[in-house]
């Protein structure tokens, strides 16, 4: 069990009152809040040990470099990576996915090749493939959903043949909360000789991930959704695959030698980290990983699940409301999207905000999914380590206010 009141004490922003009311922050799936420990770790570097990394033979630079590489090590341990070199720091999950799409895809894919993804992907795992498909002549194909908001594995199986060179799938949908069976997809992908990229933007913050058993070959995620700062993300990849992969960006630190008309690449991970990396942000992410590890990712998952179960129960009390996503908490994370007929999601969010409840409204960067659900927008509440049942109650009460204002109350 988690001591949420101690945890809440580490997040000063939760004290903020919104429109005079207690704040229920229910938008962690978009970005989480940060504990003071993360802010302190970054401020400490800036105030005491700041200099560019990997570049100076002097004290501050050595200290900063050590702290940066220590952060890499922390992330490697957090994911149970085979070695620190498998951790590539990027700007974000989006940047990680683009690094892979350009570094691997642009240099590998050919006309006739297939990229297999799913309709529940975030734009970050669709749009880069549109671009790479256009440049290479490869074709983008989709796996569909069941009526129960799960990946339709039966239909999916038929999509796997030797034309498929890469499977790019989310570890947890940011709209539905659905967690597809990555291990099974890995088996299918490897069976046809394809590599598997998992979009871990929602999975890594909310569930224990061991890359040695996950089945994926590459995994991208962002720091800011897992208590870390903005401006930092990670691409994890199997070392051997990273070693044979071309870099996407060129610049300093990623080279062994630069001649006038050619360059040779440095070893991994540096090959993929062109220029001055967001190293203070990486150090912040290291502190976030420490914080999450101290709680225990099993406990984080369990806490989310409990709140999700409670929220699904309470939301069922709201007349007319429908949830887009699995109705139970099996293989499901704590992102709950819902539709309240007669009130547009954007109006829901505005009214909830007035009541101190922060939820997101819109297409959640998943337009193909929303379209396939027959929606143009939905509202979404999502949970993290600092949320409590009281937040769910505030949500349900505020939905009552929205229904009253829109005259849906026993009209």
């Amino acid at each position: 069990m988690m001591d949420t009141s101690a945890i809440r004490g580490d997040f000063p922003i939760l004290e903020r009152r919104i429109n005079g009311r207690r704040m229920a922050f229910l938008d962690s799936a978009a970005s989480s809040q940060k504990p003071v420990q993360v802010l302190d770790a970054m401020v400490d570097i800036y105030r005491n040990s700041y200099a560019n990394v990997h570049r100076g033979a002097y004290t501050l630079s050595q200290e900063a470099t050590e702290a940066y590489e220590e952060a890499r090590h922390k992330v490697a341990v957090f994911l149970n990576a085979a070695c620190d070199e498998e951790i590539i720091f990027t700007r974000s999950a989006t940047a990680a996915m683009n690094l892979f799409a350009y570094g691997w895809g642009l240099n590998t894919l050919k006309p006739g090749d297939r990229i297999l993804t799913s309709v529940m992907e975030h734009h970050a795992n669709i749009v880069p493939w549109h671009i790479i498909a256009r440049h290479t002549g490869a074709e983008l194909c989709y796996m569909e959903l069941t009526d129960g908001f799960r990946l339709d594995m039966e239909g999916a199986r038929e999509r796997f043949d030797e034309r498929v060179k890469v499977v790019a799938v989310t570890g947890m949908s940011n709209v539905l909360g659905t967690m597809p069976p990555v291990d099974e997809l890995a088996g299918l992908a490897h069976g046809v000789g394809a590599v598997l990229l998992v979009d871990g933007a929602q999975l890594v913050p909310h569930a224990p991930v061991d890359v040695q058993t996950l089945g994926a070959d590459f995994l991208g995620f962002s720091g800011h959704k897992m208590l870390g700062p903005t401006g930092i993300g990670v691409l994890w990849g199997r070392r051997a695959l990273l070693e044979s992969m071309e870099p996407a960006e060129g610049g300093g630190e990623m080279i062994r030698d630069v001649r006038l008309h050619e360059s040779d690449w440095a070893e991994v991970p540096h090959k993929f980290e062109a220029g001055t990396p967001p190293f203070v942000e990486a150090i912040g992410l290291g502190a976030a990983v420490d914080y999450l590890s101290a709680i225990g990712m099993e406990n984080v998952l369990e806490h989310d699940r409990e709140l999700t179960g409670y929220a699904l129960e309470r939301l069922a009390e709201v007349p007319g409301l429908s949830v887009q996503g699995p109705a139970d908490t099996v293989d499901r994370g704590g992102a709950i999207s819902f539709d309240l007929p007669g009130i547009h999601a954007h109006d829901v969010a505005t009214i909830l905000d007035q009541e101190g409840v922060a939820v997101r409204a819109g297409h959640h960067c998943a337009k193909p999914l929303l379209r396939s659900l027959g929606l143009t927008a939905s509202a979404r509440a999502s949970f993290y380590v600092y949320n409590v049942a009281e937040d769910v109650d505030a949500l349900v009460d505020a939905l009552g206010v929205a229904r009253r204002i829109f005259g849906l109350d026993g009209a």
Binding site: N19, I343, H344, A345, H346, D347, T350, I351, Q354, A361, G362, H363, K367, L370, T376, A377, V401, I405, F406, G407
Partner: protein, 152 residues
């Protein structure tokens, strides 16, 4: 900020029963607008005859504010000259801007184009992210008229 300022009854009424929600058989000026952030979409179809909008269709989907704004706009521009519509548009956008509150056009005793029902959208100004919603039908209308004029 009170929610009642935003969600006036007349707005909810236009949202529930939008006016001019039709595809025109015979339109000669059409534009599509959308708000990528919230996904609101609107299509404006106009029949312009003799410098006057003789028919208007406002379709699309979105939040109460964009839908009500489009519905009211249709009523306000129908039968008006392009000239008058331009004045109206300027006045509406003025009302939606930060210093809109001081627009003398909002004085009901003032002669000239009067916003009527549209004035109920004043409360939106207090919810800055929603201003785009209210403006969406109007910028789309401007676009439709611009296209008509340039091909005229």
């Amino acid at each position: 900020m009170a929610l009642e300022d935003l969600y006036r009854e007349v707005i909810l009424d236009h949202y529930r029963s939008p006016r001019n929600r039709q595809a025109l058989d015979r339109a000669n000026a059409v534009a599509d607008g959308n708000n990528p952030l919230c996904g609101d979409e609107v299509r404006i179809e106009l029949l312009i005859e003799g410098g006057q909008v003789t028919a208007i269709g406002v379709t699309g989907h979105g939040c109460s504010i964009s839908q009500a704004s489009g519905s009211m706009m249709g009523d306000a521009v129908k039968g008006r000259t392009i000239e008058t519509i331009r004045t109206l548009t300027g006045r509406f956008k003025g009302m939606m801007s930060i210093d809109g509150a001081n627009d003398p056009g909002l004085d009901p005793n003032r002669p000239g184009a009067v916003l009527g029902d549209l004035e109920s959208l004043q409360g939106v100004r207090k919810f800055p992210v929603r201003i785009k919603c209210a403006n969406l039908p109007w910028t789309t209308l401007e676009e439709a008229i611009k296209r008509f004029v340039s091909t005229d």
